[in-house]
Symmetry: C2
Subunit: 121 residues, 2 copies
């Protein structure tokens, strides 16, 4: 039951853009880009912190997207995890990850790709 | 903006227990154990796959819990990610991870702990 999990820490994002500060704007962005990337959305939850900042997830048939923003630091963490059960979803995951990165425009980034699974289920 | 992300792949879980097969049972378990572990819940979303299997997340003020089950394989993947922004939440994360593991009782497990952040925000 192999899968790929992409983890990003993004620094120097545009701190006052609605997609960083507001749950509704980030939800709209994540839902649209998940769909554009060929993912199958099965649920979502986004929470607005006061005065600004968001934590949210999009549940995917392929697994999940999770994102957290700290506008006061221009900082974002993101996870895109897909399981490659019946088909290889790695390309979709990379597409989604890159599309959100393009939207939030970090100046610096840390990236890790973690292989999941690897034992016989 | 450091954080710790615990990733588990659990094999040989009891495949027919409701907490593996049913979204409502897994939601109840995850919400209770998140609360018991001292986490602050700010949202949740769980999806029921047909005929069985669940994907779900609990949004935390500390970051998130994500869990996916494949009952037909007795297989579960889990993520517990906490950011240690104002306080060190690592112990809470380990407590939550272990509590869910105790509940789902995998026979074999793969575990990774990923350090997140590490650049100046």
């Amino acid at each position: 039951m192999d899968g790929i999990h992409l983890l990003g820490e993004w620094y120097g994002c545009v701190a006052d853009m609605p997609e960083i500060t507001r749950a509704d704007a980030l939800r709209t962005l994540c839902m649209r880009l998940s769909d554009d990337s060929g993912m199958s959305i099965v649920g979502e939850s986004f929470h607005q912190f006061a005065p600004a900042g968001v934590t949210g997830t999009v549940l995917l048939a392929e697994s999940h997207l999770a994102i957290h923003t700290w506008p006061e630091h221009g900082f974002v963490t993101i996870d895109v995890y897909v399981c490659n059960y019946t088909t290889d979803n790695s390309a979709k995951a990379e597409r989604l990850f890159q599309a959100i990165r393009d939207a939030l425009r970090p100046q610096r980034a840390k990236f890790q790709a973690i292989h999941r699974g690897g034992m016989d289920a």
